[in-house]
């Protein structure tokens, strides 16, 4: 116990930021050591370390004690203390030391926050999102400190902590479904001159969240860019992360007309998309509706159900293209489309609706031609009546 304290002391003295951070982080194996899990370690800490480090380490040790007892609410309270101290310091000397710490490590334990949240809910106290909102407020405070740090030089600046804090804030905002709060953070990074110099891991996470936000706002082209970047640069070994990125990248790519192949889906265990992909490329509305219904829970949980419903338009287009290919004429009777839709068991569709769907496809640029109401026919252009999806989106 004393050994750990003196390790921390040495680390701080020698400005070894990352080692110090490890000793205070939950990812380090030391947290499993029962001799460190103490309910009141304050005295021992005070012996070795100065204010406020003693508080910080004591809080951290109390945290390990709480976690070992599965009292996540208490653990969260202790963790917030650990996190506050680097930012509570106003003295120049301390500020210098702390700016060399990768402050982020203390926050990495966001899952503790989520677990604390779950526990509170089970006890029936507090609303969903209460704990997360409080955590977000804390993080926002820290972020403001980082963003306004103009004193130190670029190497020691607290600005390096910005992207990490933003990523944590994004995590929380997505969880509590307050995406509009992401906008000022995105603006802050866009205007920063450090944005390309952060570590790749942080940038991948950042682009993942920004891509998801763009998707939610229906900006599919930028969403595709961000998520593709994220996917390509995500480390090969983080399969779970790659899968998460893919869950959002796939619908966007499908909307732009690019269907994934089976190997990709199998590799990342995303076979839920297999039927959807097949249905869309074949123009099979029936299969699409079945696939969406079958995996409804999964899609809704990921928040992509509504976007996948937009694939219906693409499916109509593919279906109607087949009708055109079958009839081999440029003057297609509207009845043929009605028959095709009825075959797909679309409920309550009549000729007026067929006209509407066709008109919509023409309006969106997916079909080149016009409808003649008097002759009840769709007249398509002789050259490329069904342009490629990627060009017309």
């Amino acid at each position: 116990m004393l050994l750990t304290c003196s390790q921390v002391y040495e680390a701080i003295d020698n400005h070894e930021g990352s080692f110090c951070a490890e000793l205070l982080s939950f990812k380090h194996p030391h947290v499993a050591n029962p001799r460190l899990q103490l309910a009141s370690p304050e005295e021992k800490c005070q012996q070795v370390l100065e204010v406020p480090y003693d508080e910080m380490v004591a809080a951290h040790l109390r945290c390990t004690y709480a976690v070992s007892n599965h009292d996540f609410v208490e653990a969260y309270k202790c963790q917030t203390l650990v996190v506050q101290y680097p930012f509570g310091i106003s003295g120049d000397y301390f500020g210098y030391i702390f700016s060399s710490l990768p402050i982020p490590e203390g926050f990495d334990d966001c899952r503790m926050i989520f677990q604390a949240e779950q526990q509170l809910l089970r006890k029936g106290k507090g609303k969903l999102g209460d704990m997360l909102e409080k955590a977000a407020e804390q993080l926002m405070g820290c972020f403001r400190v980082c963003a306004s740090d103009n004193r130190a030089g670029i190497d020691d600046s607290k600005k390096w902590g910005m992207l990490f804090l933003i990523n944590q804030l994004f995590k929380i905002y997505f969880k509590i479904n307050k995406l509009h709060l992401c906008k000022p953070l995105i603006r802050a990074i866009d205007s920063s001159n450090l944005k390309d110099d952060y570590s790749m891991a942080q940038r991948v996470t950042y682009k993942y969240y920004v891509g998801r936000k763009a998707m939610f706002d229906s900006d599919y082209k930028p969403a595709e860019e961000y998520l593709s970047f994220s996917f390509q640069h995500c480390h090969r070994s983080s399969q779970r992360n790659k899968r998460m990125i893919l869950i959002y990248l796939l619908p966007v790519k499908m909307l732009l007309g690019h269907m994934p192949n089976h190997q990709l889906l199998r590799k990342y265990d995303l076979m839920q998309f297999a039927d959807v992909t097949k249905a869309v490329s074949e123009g099979n509305l029936l299969l699409l509706n079945e696939a969406l219904a079958k995996h409804e829970t999964f899609f809704i949980r990921c928040g992509i159900f509504l976007i996948l419903e937009k694939l219906k338009i693409i499916t109509y287009r593919n279906l109607f293209k087949k009708v055109y290919q079958l009839l081999k004429t440029h003057q297609l009777p509207l009845d043929a489309f009605l028959v095709a839709l009825k075959m797909m068991q679309v409920e309550e569709v009549d000729i007026d609706e067929v006209q509407c769907i066709l008109a919509n496809l023409i309006c969106e640029g997916h079909i080149k031609g016009y409808i003649s109401h008097q002759h009840q026919k769709l007249v398509v252009s002789k050259a490329n009546p069904f342009p490629l999806l990627s060009s017309s989106s």
Binding site: E133, N360, C363
Partner: protein
């Protein structure tokens, strides 16, 4: 218990701190706590600044301080004891200052210089919380049972009254008094069945009003203010639904979805509802309407709209303008050809309008009408000039559903 409430606020700084949060909440009703914190940048003193004294810190660190604060907050929730619709003090004040509303005056004394108050008609009005003003005096607060009685009075005797005119004035009065009811509920942290009963009627009233007063001049009715309050009440109501069983939940989830048609937030919220709610007939219909809107299929949407009941149509009606405009746009592109002859009566049928109105709509959108036929052309479609089209003229789809429904039954929900 009462002693605690009436104790001087000065003695308990923590309590003062909590109460100070209330004005912020009122002034910006629709902004959540989180947004407030970001905007106003308020911070607990312990979060920032100098490290505090050791012993206070120890207390704090052990988590005791937090528990004590929680307990204190529980004890200090105000409980109202005013058993009439308006606290005596306010009634006397307003009567003395000649500030009674026309509907609160004793009949026979309206023309007098100082009209007398009708005790069975005076209702507590909404007043902004202000520094120095104590909104938590129990004698000024009405308990939940009285609040519900007040709402019934407002609906049955004022909103549904066949004699009180004009309805814009009726609306103003009921709107303000309902706002005061909600304020009392917030101060007393009312929740559960009472809260739900009040909010359901509030939401129905505001939706009905959004339709009935559509088209009234801005000085008499502001649709944006109505919308703000409707959204707030609706969110609060939907939050109440997350705990306990509520028989009308499907009705209001559907109304929320229809009123906020096209909003991804509202649609996502609906998708996350439990299966048994989503599969109820009323929700199924609302979801079909929403899907038709998202797929931009106005023909289907307008056809489905025929099956909605009166209040649902009221909730939907402000989107009909967009819907019809979409249809004209899509058809302008889809039927664009020199020889186009689309029958006018057919278009009228699809738009759920009569022929003269269809004609008017087409002209406003730059769509050419030649006799009995419409000539669609993608180049001639234009967006209508702002304010040229009056939504109120195109209300037939909603109007014909009212039939012999009374305002009272619409708001109480016994249709």
């Amino acid at each position: 218990m009462n002693m605690l409430l009436q104790g001087p606020l000065v003695l308990r700084p923590l309590y003062l701190f909590n109460v100070m949060h209330l004005p912020l909440f009122f002034l910006s009703d629709s902004i959540s706590r989180l947004d407030q914190k970001c905007l106003f940048n308020s911070s607990h003193s312990r979060r920032r600044g100098q490290p505090v004294e050791r012993d206070f810190r120890q207390h704090h660190n052990q988590g005791v301080w937090r528990e004590v604060q929680e307990e204190r907050r529980q004890e200090s929730i105000p409980r109202g004891v005013c058993l009439s619709m308006c606290p005596i003090r306010e009634l006397q004040d307003r009567e003395a200052q000649n500030l009674l509303h026309r509907f609160e005056v004793l009949s026979g004394t309206e023309r007098e210089r100082w009209p007398r108050a009708d005790p069975s008609g005076v209702v507590k009005e909404y007043a902004r919380p202000a520094a120095g003003k104590d909104s938590t005096r129990p004698s000024d607060l009405r308990p939940p049972a009285v609040l519900l009685k007040t709402v019934f009075y407002l609906v049955d005797n004022i909103a549904a009254s066949p004699t009180l005119r004009p309805w814009t004035e009726v609306y103003d009065f009921v709107f303000d008094r309902l706002r005061s009811v909600r304020q009392d509920m917030i101060i007393q942290r009312v929740s559960g069945a009472d809260c739900v009963a009040v909010l359901e009627r509030t939401v129905r009233f505001l939706i009905y009003a959004s339709y009935r007063l559509c088209g009234e001049p801005l000085r008499l009715y502001d649709p944006r203010i109505n919308d703000t309050h409707l959204q707030e009440s609706l969110s609060w109501l939907l939050e109440c639904y997350t705990s306990g069983k509520h028989p009308n939940q499907e009705e209001f989830q559907a109304l929320g979805l229809l009123y906020n048609l096209g909003s991804s937030r509202a649609t996502q919220h609906t998708m996350e509802l439990p299966e048994r709610i989503r599969s109820s007939p009323v929700m199924h219909l609302a979801l079909s309407v929403s899907r038709a809107f998202m797929e931009r299929n106005p023909v289907r949407l307008l056809r489905l709209a025929h099956s909605l009941d009166f209040l649902q149509s009221c909730a939907l009606h402000r989107h009909l303008e967009t819907c019809r405009r979409d249809l004209l746009l899509i058809y302008s592109h889809g039927h664009s050809s020199k020889n186009c002859r689309f029958p006018l009566h057919k278009l009228a049928h699809i738009l759920a309008l009569d022929v003269p109105l269809t004609n008017q709509l087409c002209q406003a959108h730059g769509v050419e009408v030649r006799g009995d036929y419409v000539v669609f052309s993608k180049t001639s479609f234009t967006e209508p000039e702002a304010g040229k089209l009056q939504c109120a003229h195109f209300h037939d789809l909603v109007d014909r559903k009212q039939r012999d429904l009374t305002v009272g039954s619409i708001i109480h929900g016994c249709t």
